[in-house]
């Protein structure tokens, strides 16, 4: 049975279909990678329209809380062998929006990420290099983020609910309450 798995992993690495979803400001470097100057289709990576058909989900840059909710919906709609690529410094530790009230700081607390790429918006070459690296990881069978999501589902859901389902205000009441209408 394991040769079948290796063969399947070999082919999965050769044709990773990317979800056409620009979540953050890093999405400006995707069109040059998709089109004629850098052409990622040589690696079998094609932008697909729906999460059902996609294998890799690119989180290109920061995620505000509102778009994190949509990303979690999209991630859960994708079918099983799926991988997440975290682009740029905003997915690692908050990037330049480290003190913003509406941007999440560490992507890994909400969805499992398989490969992080350095760069405040990685270049097309860095994106192509990450596709090649992801292909090696898939062939070696190490890119198993989706199984980790299923295993620690409660932990991920607890983190997500802390951000989505807030019932009480986050900041303690300041002394002089200037509560508006």
């Amino acid at each position: 049975m394991s040769e079948w798995k290796e063969l399947a992993d070999y082919f999965r690495g050769r044709s990773m279909w990317m979800l056409h979803y620009c979540t953050g400001c890093g999405a400006i470097e995707l069109p040059p990678t998709m089109t004629s100057r850098w052409d990622m289709e040589r690696f079998g990576v094609v932008p697909m329209a729906t999460p059902r058909q996609a294998d890799i989900l690119l989180i290109t840059g920061y995620l505000s809380i509102k778009s994190l909710k949509r990303v979690v919906y999209t991630y859960e709609q994708m079918s099983a062998p799926k991988w997440v690529l975290g682009f740029g410094s905003c997915t690692i530790n908050g990037g330049i929006y480290w003190d913003s009230y509406s941007v999440i700081k560490r992507l890994d607390k909400y969805i499992p990420v398989d490969l992080y790429i350095a760069g405040c918006m990685p270049r097309p070459e860095a994106i192509l290099d990450s596709f090649v690296k992801l292909r090696e990881l898939i062939k070696k069978g190490e890119a198993k983020g989706y199984e980790k999501y299923v295993k620690n589902f409660e932990w991920y859901k607890a983190n997500q609910d802390k951000v989505f389902r807030r019932t009480t205000p986050v900041l303690k009441k300041p002394e002089e309450v200037t509560k508006s209408a």
Binding site: A8, A49, R52
Partner: protein, 297 residues
């Protein structure tokens, strides 16, 4: 005994149609990539895609969904068996063309039943567009087939091919020029190539009918498209380019037609639905009717 031989031969023709269809799609992606001024994926990319799709697990939307998509692919595979491919001619019955056309529409209706039960509004809009577009290109195609029948005075494909044997000059393409141009535009609609691919419009309705297909269903969808390419170009070769002595010449002739469809696909945007149907009922229908009149008189 004859039954088993026929069974194995038809499985062979089915496998041939799938692999040739996928090879055409792979080469097609490379050619459109060249027009885009880039290097496309390796030619066998579609085989890799299909294998990967079958290795993923997929989400079903109920029994009608599974039945519909399987019906689509199997109807087209059944239609391929009736197609005389080069010297392989499994069922030389005299009304094989009508059988093929019936099974092709059956494939689309099966797909429509399955996809519309998936509950996604994009899918229902997409499949309603696909069916109106099918009505669009079936009318001129019927006119062309009517004129070919009258011209060759026979219903079966084998006799039509026999009538065209002997040299390039008495191919139907030369003797029925208007019919060939009308059928060529109808072929563009049947293949779902660019000016008429509003059914699978990713930018508007997120790839239409295939919006809820994941994993294995998408694999079946891709097989259906591959067999569809083989079948539609095969009919055109038999009707207008006089069949072929052996399989390889048949495939080469098919690729010529597919190449023209690719070039048109790369340089034109897509119509709206009613514009596509009205375009189909203007020029190609006119040419088909003229051709029929010429043949009848």
């Amino acid at each position: 005994m004859m039954f088993f031989l026929k069974l194995i031969q038809s499985i062979g023709v089915g496998a041939l149609s799938i692999s040739v269809g996928l090879l055409f799609m792979g080469i097609g992606r490379k050619i459109t990539a060249r027009i885009h001024r880039r290097y496309g994926p390796p030619a066998i990319q579609n085989f890799i895609d299909v294998f990967k799709l079958f290795s993923k697990n997929s989400i079903s939307h109920g029994f009608a969904y599974d039945l519909g998509i399987i019906a689509g692919t199997s109807a087209l595979l059944a239609a391929v068996v009736f197609l005389p491919v080069g010297q392989i001619n499994l069922f030389p019955a005299n009304s094989s063309l009508i059988m093929i056309l019936y099974l092709m529409t059956m494939a689309y209706l099966g797909m429509a039943m399955g996809v519309s039960s998936s509950g996604n509004p994009n899918a229902t809009i997409g499949i309603s567009r696909a069916l109106t577009m099918m009505m669009g290109y079936k009318v001129p195609f019927a006119a062309v087939i009517f004129s070919v029948y009258i011209f060759a005075r026979t219903g079966s494909l084998t006799n039509i091919i026999a009538a065209q044997s002997g040299g390039l000059l008495n191919w139907n393409m030369i003797r029925l020029p208007f019919g060939f141009i009308a059928a060529e535009i109808a072929l563009q609609g049947m293949l779902g190539e660019k000016p008429f691919d509003m059914a699978i419009a990713p930018a508007e309705i997120a790839s239409g009918p295939m919006v809820e297909m994941s994993g294995k269903y998408l694999g079946f969808g891709m097989l259906q498209h591959a067999v569809g390419i083989f079948l539609e170009t095969g009919i055109m070769v038999n009707l207008f380019m006089g069949g072929a002595p052996n399989v390889w010449i048949f495939v080469i002739k098919q690729f010529e037609l597919f190449f023209i469809a690719l070039l048109v696909n790369a340089i034109l945007p897509r119509f709206r639905v009613e514009e596509g149907v009205s375009f189909m009922w203007k020029i190609p229908l006119l040419l088909g009717v003229i051709q029929a009149l010429i043949v009848v008189l």
